[in-house]
């Protein structure tokens, strides 16, 4: 009996020890029932199948040793391409790889699986490419759910095979992007060839590239290479592409694994959509944001870019082959899978946003544009979780992006001045990523305040702190800022709380300056362990016209105002704190506030003569925000559908 008790005790002890080390499931409080309470978009659900009958086919080398579909079932044969100057795996590993695939990087196959609509077309063309994964578990079939949906709605979707660039390989994202352009070259041939099932059916003026993980970076590389005449790292490789790539979609992308000429990849004049999950167990920071910031609109044509941080989404569920284990089949041992969105919900989000983006940018279905300015308008389509969104359209003019110099009082252009009032902290700094020693390579301003006055009376408040952006008359005229304009900025509250401000000095008493009369410093109150601050956060936006008339609206009317969302990726208690510099990613939410709303709030205001914009910290007595990309836009009215709760 005694040995049995001893064994039971040992087993119990082991289980208890193990249990104590597994972190309880911790998720941020879900505000989606409030934020996504009202659907306002009057448009067909982009996540629903369309009316086209869907057909599928394969194109490729017809000789693929490992892929039966690209060997035995190709409808369209393609020639191999020599990518050996863009990808390399030296030594025995390279030989093993060539032995496995039956080819090396000199004979890379142009293989794709296609979902396309039955009909005469011409149809927009969308390529999607996977990222890095076990090269023996083929990734390209994993986007079939998008292929079926998009083809039924009149798009051709080709899922590109780049599995031969997967596995233990690095510095190959240039090859991944270049391969996409090689695929487009084949598509041009398919369109031009009589006898091809796609002859004359492809709208080559409406092309989008979508990529996942390393593929997400590859689409940006492809867009950059598309306009170059030479490969930046070896000019003996000539480029001759020039495709009309209208739109890029980056799904949980990496960034900077390839740097053309050792510079960040520059991309301009494309529409750009970036999505990323907060519980990504592979690319665990919002790595696509630097690329998002680098997208430039320079040709005056209407375009936009948007980024969506999806709470509880992971890395792999965007691809049905990859699944929920972001670091291989054994990663359930260390990744906490309990908090993840159900895969069908995560993919539903992809279906809705990606389709809406492609409909809007390739087929000019402008009714979907508001979704990217303020996702709340599509509440009925989106899975119930939390989203943090970034948005900028091509008419945006930046008054302050905090990149230009080290003078905190100057804006991004002449005629803009910045000023703080009663702030506890004010600094410009680079926005850090959650991962250690990495950042967005983009600056923002940190503003902290505490309206409480130090002293025994804890209810005593001083004048609300504020941060003001003043505009010169000439700039206002040049940018045509008027009642049709929209104030746009990105903002995130943080958990930092400055101490109370000092009481104003009483100059009526003689000798008030004397240090000898100063009361002894009080001991700080004992620290209590504080949980996450769940109090509502808000502030007022104020505009003042040239005549001094002011109008205020609350920020929360224009989007959810949340403190950073903590996400625990690992099962082991304490592992996230060990791995990351912060438990939350600092993702700024973009708010778009029509100036007409201020005029509605204060009819005496002249929105055609706005002189100052003020962020007034009057609704939360203490806090810190990070603020960036403050500017104005004369965005199309198509973007400006009424958002829930804004009273317009």
């Amino acid at each position: 009996m005694q040995p049995r008790i001893a064994s039971l005790s040992a087993a119990l002890l082991a289980l208890t020890t193990l249990g104590a080390c597994v972190a309880p499931l911790r998720l941020a409080r879900d505000d989606s029932p409030t934020v996504l309470a009202q659907h306002l978009l009057d448009a067909p659900d982009p996540g629903q199948r369309g009316s086209f009958r869907v057909r599928t086919l394969y194109y490729g080398s017809g000789t693929d040793k490992r892929r039966a579909e690209f060997r035995d079932s190709v409808t369209l044969r393609t020639a191999t391409v020599d990518g050996s100057k863009l990808a390399d795996v030296p030594g025995p590993a390279g030989k093993d790889r060539a032995k496995y695939w039956g080819f090396d990087f000199k004979k890379m196959p142009v293989n794709g699986r296609v979902w396309y609509p039955e009909g005469d077309g011409p149809f927009p063309l969308v390529l999607i490419v996977h990222g890095n994964h076990n090269m023996r578990e083929f990734s390209d079939p994993g986007y079939g759910y998008l292929g079926e949906l998009l083809a039924s709605r009149g798009f051709i979707l080709a899922s590109v095979d780049e599995n031969f660039l997967n596995g233990a390989i690095g510095r190959e994202n240039d090859a991944r992007g270049w391969m996409l352009l090689q695929h487009l070259r084949q598509w041009r041939r398919f369109n031009d060839s009589t006898g091809s099932p796609f002859a004359g059916k492809i709208d080559l003026q409406r092309i989008a590239l979508m990529g996942h993980s390393r593929g997400g970076e590859a689409v940006a590389v492809a867009a950059a290479f598309n306009r170059l005449k030479h490969y930046p790292d070896d000019a003996t490789v000539r480029f001759d592409f020039g495709f009309d790539i209208r739109s890029l979609v980056a799904i949980a992308p990496v960034d900077g694994q390839y740097r053309p000429a050792d510079k960040p990849t520059p991309v301009e004049n494309v529409n750009y959509l970036l999505i990323h999950g907060s519980h990504d167990g592979d690319v665990s920071t919002f790595s696509g944001l630097p690329q998002y910031e680098r997208i430039r609109f320079t040709d005056g044509r209407p375009r936009f870019k948007a980024a969506i941080w999806v709470y509880r989404a992971n890395h792999g569920q965007w691809n049905t082959v990859w699944g929920n284990k972001d670091n291989g089949p054994r990663s359930g041992r260390f990744l906490d899978l309990r908090g993840l969105l159900p895969p069908q919900d995560q993919r539903r989000f992809a279906e809705v946003t990606l389709t809406a983006f492609l409909e809007a940018t390739l087929r000019d279905r402008r009714e979907y544009l508001p979704l990217f300015r303020d996702h709340r308008v599509a509440a009925g389509w989106l899975p119930k979780t939390m989203y943090v969104t970034r948005f900028q359209e091509s008419d945006f003019r930046s008054a302050a992006d905090f990149e230009e110099d080290v003078d905190v009082t100057t804006g991004s252009v002449g005629g803009v001045t910045l000023a703080g009032d009663s702030l506890a902290s004010w600094k410009e700094a680079v926005i850090p990523f959650r991962s250690r020693n990495s950042n967005m390579a983009h600056n923002a301003v940190w503003l902290g305040w505490n309206n409480r006055i130090a002293g025994d009376d804890t209810t005593r408040l001083g004048r609300p702190a504020a941060f003001a952006i003043s505009l010169g008359d000439s700039l206002r005229s040049a940018w045509r800022i008027d009642r049709g304009s929209t104030l746009v900025f990105s903002l995130a509250p943080t958990d930092a709380k400055p101490g109370p401000r000092a009481a104003p000095r009483d100059t009526s008493k003689a000798g008030a300056d004397s240090a000898t009369r100063r009361p002894p410093p009080r001991r700080p109150p004992p620290r209590r362990p504080a949980g996450p601050d769940t109090t509502a956060f808000d502030l007022s936006l104020e505009v003042v016209d040239a005549a001094g008339t002011a109008a205020r609206v609350p920020l929360s009317r224009y989007g959810a105002v949340r403190r950073p969302l903590e996400s625990y990726i690992y099962r082991r208690s304490g592992r996230d704190k060990l791995r990351f510099a912060s438990l939350s990613e600092l993702v700024l939410q973009t708010y778009s506030v029509p100036l007409a709303d201020f005029a509605a709030a204060a009819p005496a205001l002249d929105p055609d003569r706005i002189a100052t914009v003020r962020f007034v910290f009057d609704r939360t007595p203490v806090g810190t925000i990070v603020l960036d990309n403050i500017g104005f836009s004369r965005m199309s009215a198509d973007f400006l559908i009424t958002a829930p709760g804004n009273g317009r």
Binding site: T17, L18, C21, R333, F334, R571
Partner: protein
């Protein structure tokens, strides 16, 4: 994987082939060099020549330092004999270095060498001990790990003590499956009066692979074949079955089979381990002709 398992099982059965060359096997000294040094190695039937571990110094100097840390083990063969071993290894620039000490304590029936293995399980009239201390160094060249260990070995029987220098040489691959070859105990014979005993010169070759996913488990297999100076061959094989319920935690069970080098040893052994982050506690049991040996080891990475 299934093919490897089948080969492993066949190898294990072949290893258990009964033998009758005990006399030939009991002619070497010191005794400590003829015993598995580690609990994990013992649990794997002594098939350690290709196992990357903290205490690889005792089986193949080429694998020293591939895992860095310290390992300590204690063994009890009977109430008359016990064993201790300590090993530490670390990387040092392009090299890996390691040190290791093994010590066996027993009772002797006669003041002579070689000491027969029956001292492990039987009583005697005097005290005896056997010691080996090693310093190993290895590096990578042409894609292989090459290593050497300089050793001092000693047998002490009652008041007499005899020692000798010895050398181990080894080479190993670095892939997912490790292949290793080691030549151990190159050195002069030990004399004690009229008695003379050669070191147990041994050439071993083997392969090992661990962490192969099989359902929710990780399987491992290690096989080796040793050839002793007198022509005696000793195949050995061991399997490991591990489960990781949570990152940093690991539970493993092992079974090993061998053709024993010593009379008191029997073919079968087994073991288990529990890992918590950097710490691993190993247990092994070896079947002996009279009783069983129990080993306990702590490995700290």
């Amino acid at each position: 994987m299934m093919r490897a398992l089948r080969i492993g099982v066949a190898f294990m059965l072949a290893s258990a082939w009964p033998v009758s060359l005990h006399a030939q096997r009991e002619q070497y000294a010191p005794l400590v060099l003829q015993l598995p040094a580690t609990a994990r190695g013992a649990g794997l039937g002594g098939a350690s020549v290709a196992v990357r571990d903290l205490d690889a110094i005792f089986a193949n100097p080429a694998l020293t330092g591939v895992a860095s840390g310290t390992a300590m083990s204690l063994a009890r063969f009977s109430e008359f004999a016990g064993m201790g071993a300590v090993a530490a290894s670390s990387a040092l620039g392009a090299f890996n270095v390691g040190i290791g000490v093994q010590f066996v304590d027993f009772e002797i029936a006669a003041q002579t060498i070689p000491v027969r293995s029956r001292v492990l399980t039987g009583s005697g009239v005097g005290a005896g001990a056997s010691l080996a201390a090693a310093f190993a160094l290895n590096t990578t060249f042409k894609g292989l790990r090459w290593g050497a260990a300089a050793k001092y070995v000693e047998d002490r029987v009652a008041t007499a003590r005899r020692g000798a220098p010895a050398l181990d040489l080894g080479v190993a691959t670095q892939g997912q499956t490790t292949y290793g070859i080691a030549v151990q105990n190159i050195g002069p014979a030990m004399d004690l009066g009229p008695a003379r005993a050669e070191l147990p010169l041994r050439v071993s070759a083997g392969a090992a692979r661990f962490g192969v996913p099989v359902g929710p488990f990780d399987a491992g297999l290690s096989v080796s074949l040793s050839l002793l100076r007198g022509g005696f061959t000793s195949p050995a094989a061991g399997m490991e079955w591990a489960y990781t319920p949570l990152d940093g935690y690991n539970v493993a069970v092992r079974a090993g089979v061998r053709r024993p080098e010593l009379r008191e040893q029997q073919p079968f052994s087994g073991g288990a381990s529990f890992t918590l982050d950097r710490f691993t506690l190993d247990y092994a049991i070896e079947d002996l002709a009279r009783g069983a040996a129990h080993r306990l080891a702590l490995r700290v990475r």
